[in-house]
């Protein structure tokens, strides 16, 4: 494959930017959370690319740990969102303004 490291890092950086756009733009907490997962995924792609082009295994091991931690984080975060919905009957961030009233 003649595609260089730069191309992979460019794809990862653009994925990260798209994830940040989602966090800024969306109001649904679940979609914001999915955008956070997208940013984690972009970092995973960058780490695997660095690991492959550097010839060491450490980046792959980091991605292994990141996937594990992300799975645990998704379970806890979704439980918190469900608890929030049970109390406030909404998950839209513009209606979750109890501190400003």
């Amino acid at each position: 494959m003649t595609v260089g490291l730069n191309a992979f890092i460019l794809v990862a950086a653009l994925l990260f930017a798209i994830g940040m756009l989602g966090v800024l733009l969306r109001k649904n907490t679940l979609v914001i959370y999915m955008s956070l997962e997208l940013m984690l995924n972009a970092v995973n792609l960058a780490l695997v690319a660095f690991s492959r082009y550097n010839g060491t295994m450490d980046g792959n091991l980091f991605v292994f740990f990141i996937i594990t931690v992300a799975a645990a984080e998704v379970a806890v975060g979704l439980a918190i969102i469900v608890a929030l919905f049970r109390r406030r009957q909404t998950v839209m961030v513009d209606q979750l303004n109890a501190l400003s009233r």
Partner: protein, 180 residues
Amino acid sequence: MLDTLFYFFAAITLISALLMVLSPNAVNAAICMIVSFVNTAALFVLLEAYFLAILQVLVYAGAVMVLFLFIIMLLDVDKDGSSYLKEKMSLAGSIAGFALLVILIFSAFVGGQYLPETALQAVGENPTGEGPGIPFTTSAKSFGYSLFTKYMLPFQVTGFLLLAAMIGVIVVSKKQGDFK
């Protein structure tokens, strides 16, 4: 051939990620997210990280996104469509921030194209255990080798973190007053 595959998978990854961000329906967003994750797994295959590609499909596209879809459908949050496009200020601010980030990335790459391009090295099949670091191999065996030598402490901390997350989820999702 592999170059064409890279451009194909990278394009689908980026386009479906963008569709995920822009689709007003949360279920459609989750489906686009699954497409993006599967294509990232394809990019991992191109990088010869086969174990991580399988892990990505199983854990991210499988478990995590099924959990997301389940919660989206359980909460039924699509009834009042999120009308983020109607608020001009937040839309303008978000797009301006996104454009600034993209310009930053592209200017960094325009500056970086004068650097020497990194060559792709040949990789071995099995971990050898020689030399200073752990060399890149395509086998899942080197994951086990690394996890039980260099990354023993993080491995055990991760196991403890999973236990803590499991207990935390049970505590958070119980109804209030169940602990009396």
